[in-house]
Amino acid sequence: MSETTAATATVQEHAHEEHHEMSFWEKYIFPTDHKMIGLQYMFTGMFMAAVGGYFAYAFRMQLAFPGMDVPLFGQVTPQIYNMLITNHGTIMIFWVAMPVLIAGFGNFLIPLMIGCDDMVFPRINRLSYQIFFVSTVVLLLSFFVKGGGFGGAWTAYPPLSSVPEYNLTNWGSSLWIVAVALEIIAFLLGGINFVTTTMNSRAPGMKMMDIPIVIWMINIAVIMFMASVGPLIAGAVMLFMDQRIGTTFFLPAGGGDPVLWQHLFWFFGHPEVYVVLFPTLGLVADVITTFSRKKLWGYRTILYTTIATGGLAFVVWAHHQFIAGIDPRMANVFVVTTLLISIPIAEVMFCYIATLYGGSIRFTVPMLWALGFLMTFLLGGVTGIYLGASGLNIYFHDSYFVVAHFHYTFFPITIIGMFGALYYWFPKMFGRHLNEFWGKVHFWGTLIPFNGIFLPLFLLGMAGQHRRIYNYEHFPDLASPDLQGLRVFATASLVIMLLFQIPFLINFFGSMFRGRKAEPNPWKANTLEWIVPSPPPHGNFKELPSVYRGPYEYSVPGNREDYWPQNMPDRN
């Protein structure tokens, strides 16, 4: 109680003291302001996305043109190939999806959307980013130690990951664990902040069912993260001890159990999929509702089915281990739960489509991305059903079908949905608009090549192409020109997609300084972040707002305007 009110009081004083200038260090390097911390997370995530994309480019080139001297990279040896795919996965999940979607948007949006001045624990928030920054440095350093970066796949299955003689990256694999552990601590601190802030600092009048759905989604994701990450921490400690001290927790020869790691890892790893999915579902819900000019269809349905999905997500993990030698009777149980989980998620999708139905849809750039997310994510979800059936899984396991499936979920989540949110909230973040035309170029230039990359991979997977092979010329069954043609097509699509990110970067950094000035509420949206100036000042609100209704009251009959801000007592 005292903390909340104390923070409120001090920041209100700050808001009144117009001349209180913060130094450069205080403002940009060691801020306690949630908006700046959110942007720090976002920029770090963007940088890491570039690293992860660069890695993908290098190993895709190797697969399409084996043995080639990759431009801007060089030779991809088997050892380097393993390091590239491992760290591509690790970076994209832990250093792009989580920091941008949860920490970036979560930090930026939560206090603004629930109408308070800052997080409940601003200094813990700052510590969270600092630990995350250190984790980033440790991961990047691990690429340059003797032996190179870790090369045992992002799932780090022992004994490959635990015995240096097997993985040949004695130091890289340990630094990898340290980096992941630090990153988890950072998100733990951030997550505690998010949930506590949403619980205790909402604006007067904002009831549970008046919270914008994106805030709900981020909070559900964070709670899931906190409930699922314990096993990964325990497993990471044990793996680290196996590597460095010489224990045998995961080594059968010494009485350990390698499948134990898989259980510990996937007990975290599967909920993690939903941890990154939910924030994007929320971001997309807000974008879709605003540009349909219509109330979000089934607010409570979406909320409750999301919670149900979150619960179910904890009992599906063994579907990653169908061929790991687990009891087939146990596998049956996990088939049922895995197929069940598609029901609530489908329900959420239908709610979004129902929101579109009958709306007066505005095809702005954020809306295009949001619709693109719905379409591509649907394909990812549907292909998951095949993998969830244990019979089919025996054939598909570790094939490119799996790779294509999870990229059809993760790419829409991390890139497509995230871009929608970025184009939507960019005016609020920087006070200027992104260029519409180049935004549309960027959209089509990302969406079409994305399908060009991963649709062929479904076919390759069905043809039996195994994931963890760096040169298919060595396998006569897989070296046929037909299959190689598909690989070249996928790689060419990837290069095209990466090239289309260049106009985005120019647009992004150019608009930040030269873009069209944004008014406080450029999209005519209802939620509280749109009542403050763009970009919001330190302390956000001049006086803290009161909330009179839910966030999605668009096109209400009897109003002159088709939107109705949450803080407006009278008709609009």
Binding site: M1, E3, G205, G230, M241, T247, G254
Partner: protein, 206 residues
Amino acid sequence: MSLESLPALLVTAESYDPAPVPQRPLIDSRQFGMLLFIVTEVMFFASLVSAYLIIRSGLEEWPPWGQPRLPVWSTALNTAVLLSSGVAAYLSGRQFRGGSGTAQRTLGISVALGTFFLVFQGYEWVQMLGFGLTVTSSTYGGLFYLIIGAHGVHVLGALIALAYTWMRMTPGQEQPLTQGGASAVRMLWYFVVGVWPILYVLVYLA
């Protein structure tokens, strides 16, 4: 009922409560944050317990041949010490809420008992190492040091927090200790104390 009054019964946008009331936090932020942290901790220790059970169930002989037995009785005594430290922390909390001046002394007793637990555990570890139970001597030894060590690290961390609380209870502080902050630290201590009997039964007795 006339047809005209029917629209009034339908839920319209106007039927929202027109008068916002200021938010009254259901629970203090620090306590709530600590509660969330403890959720993660519970899952962490649950994973260690399940790892223990899975590895143990895969071996025919437990403890493995040639490994020393654990000191059941002296650790039972130590368990009692830790539990009484938890009780002392609870009593201190009650006294602090009641504004009693003895709160700091009671918390001091709690810290002292907790420190005794930790030191005695360390003494036992030295003995176990002397008997040939090391972290690499078997998975038995590895799990013992992993689980009991993980708990020991938590005891150390929570004791530091508790000692800091004790320090802050000294009268004449610039920023007096708040109920919420003190209570959050005690919650951590209750967790550390409460998880110990489970680990004791699992690792020492079962």
